[in-house]
Amino acid sequence: MIVADKKPIEEIIEFVKDRERILVAGCNECVTVCEAGGKKEVGILASALRMYFKKQGRDVKVDEVTLERQCDHEYLEEIAGTVGNYDAIVSIACGVGIQFMAEEYPKMPVYPGVNTCFMGATEYRGLWVERCQGCGQCVLGQTAAVCPVARCAKRVFNGPCGGSTNGKCEISKETDCAWQLIVDRLKTLGKMDEYEKLFPIKDWSTDRAGGPRKVVREDVQQ
């Protein structure tokens, strides 16, 4: 899933402090799972904004909505009838949802209420970890299903670097060394002979380097 984290309330207030009618819009997908942008967080953020405006002695309307998905035109259209009631939307979907909201409603100011962080998973409640950077050319088949792009701080393909210590990365004792994980898994799988294969220079054109990306599937287009 896409993992996001709450933006500081001060930053959000700075975006909307001069507005009169604000809609806080959540998303029922990834950001609900990582507890940054679901229905519960919509309620918390809306309350915080109401408290702020009340303290300022201002009568500002703050409404709440949580859509099934913000990365889908179909669900965004659900608020087409009411969106005209507002002069700003704070979206706490991921960066994709926030932009889709803005594209759907071109005249409406849309502001982010979260920082979108990475593609990851829930290790346990309150700890979300990165696993994929969407490089567009999956290497997991050559790296014992541990991603050096997402999990090595230097994304080295022929690791580990000299900074690996006691299974941890040189940047932090809290961060596993991806190459220690790869070596451990190769050992478990009885495939240590694969370790000495040189990993060829990567084609990064399918990554961010190639510019904004698209997946085009004519076979499923209608």
């Binding site: 393909f157 690791g159 900074g163 690996s164 210590t165 299974g167």
Partner: protein, 309 residues
């Protein structure tokens, strides 16, 4: 003698003599005098001088400019190049620039993570890793080709090396990793600072079992300790460093004003011991901001005078 380049380092090691290198860090300012001064102190006692590339991710005068300066002074520089800050276009471009100035040696590294330096908020590049940089230099030199496949008129004749850390984890892949660097094209290896001699000798024995010293020149890396504080810092704070407690105890065993001398003594003893280690082709003495001690170490270790080739 079959030489691939004009490198003095290559000539010395291929002639079967022990080579000696040292390193100098460029200054944090637009000033080449300091590097000239530092290099001047060691020039008669070493065969080549590594110039570090923004080591520990702290911004400094660039390695390439400092190497050119040394070359113009008649010294033999080793251009250190990390993959942290440059993509494949910049790396290949700098390799050509260095070669055009007659810089004959290169050391391919990934570089410390930028979070250690003065720009922790910066982006890192890592378009290639250190092994892929080795392959790149060899492709350019041996096949006269760019990574993109185009041919070049005058290939860079670089004697190309890599670092090896015999002490980092996981230990069981330390020798396979050396083999991998050799397969990627490393003609010489400069190791991480050695304080745990037993562990290093074990690593060398495994390397010999695989015939690796016949395929590359392994230079043992040494850094004299200045104090107990430095030893503790190296042990606890520097990633991938193995400083045994005995080293710290030995430094603690002398008066504070004698700790530096003791550090030098340990360094000299280590070289003398490793001169007996089969498969060692030279020594890389990294006296960090302590260049003035290098001549004495080289002389006491019986590595002076340096050969003329």
């Amino acid at each position: 003698m079959n030489l691939n380049t004009d490198s003095k380092l290559e000539k010395i090691m291929k002639s079967g003599q022990l080579a000696v290198t040292s390193e100098v860090g460029p200054p944090r300012g637009a000033d080449l005098e300091e590097i000239e001064h530092k290099a001047g102190i060691i020039k008669d006692h070493v065969d080549a001088v590594n110039i570090t590339d923004n080591q520990t991710s702290v911004t400094r005068l660039c390695s390439l400019a400092a190497c050119i300066k040394l070359k113009l002074l008649g010294l033999e520089p080793v251009l250190q190049m990390v993959t942290r800050d440059r993509n494949r276009i910049a790396l290949q471009s700098d390799i050509l620039g260095a070669a055009a100035f007659g810089i004959n040696n290169m050391l391919c590294l990934s570089g410390d993570h930028q979070s250690f330096g003065d720009n922790p908020k910066g982006q890192n590049v890592h378009d290639l890793d250190s092994m892929q940089l080795l392959q790149t230099v060899r492709l350019m030199r041996d096949e006269g080709k760019f990574l993109g496949g185009d041919e070049m008129k005058k290939p860079p004749r670089m004697f190309v090396g890599a670092a090896a850390n015999p002490f980092a984890d996981p230990f069981e892949i330390r020798v396979p990793r050396l083999a991998k660097k050799i397969a990627a094209g490393a003609e010489f290896i400069q190791t991480q600072c050695i304080y745990n001699l037993e562990k290093f000798e074990k690593w060398m024995a495994e390397a010999r079992d695989r015939g690796l010293p016949e395929k590359t020149f392994i230079m043992a890396g040494l850094t004299p300790m200045k104090s107990v504080g430095m030893a503790k810092y190296m042990k606890n704070r520097v990633p991938g460093m193995d400083v045994p407690d005995e080293v710290i105890k030995r430094l603690q065993g002398v008066a504070k004003d004698k700790q530096a001398d003791e550090g030098i003594k340990i360094c000299i003893e280590s070289i003398l011991r490793l001169k007996e280690c089969k498969g060692i082709s030279g020594f890389h003495i990294m006296a960090i901001e302590w260049e003035e001690k290098v001549p004495g170490i080289v002389e006491a270790a019986g590595l002076y005078p340096r050969p003329t080739v």
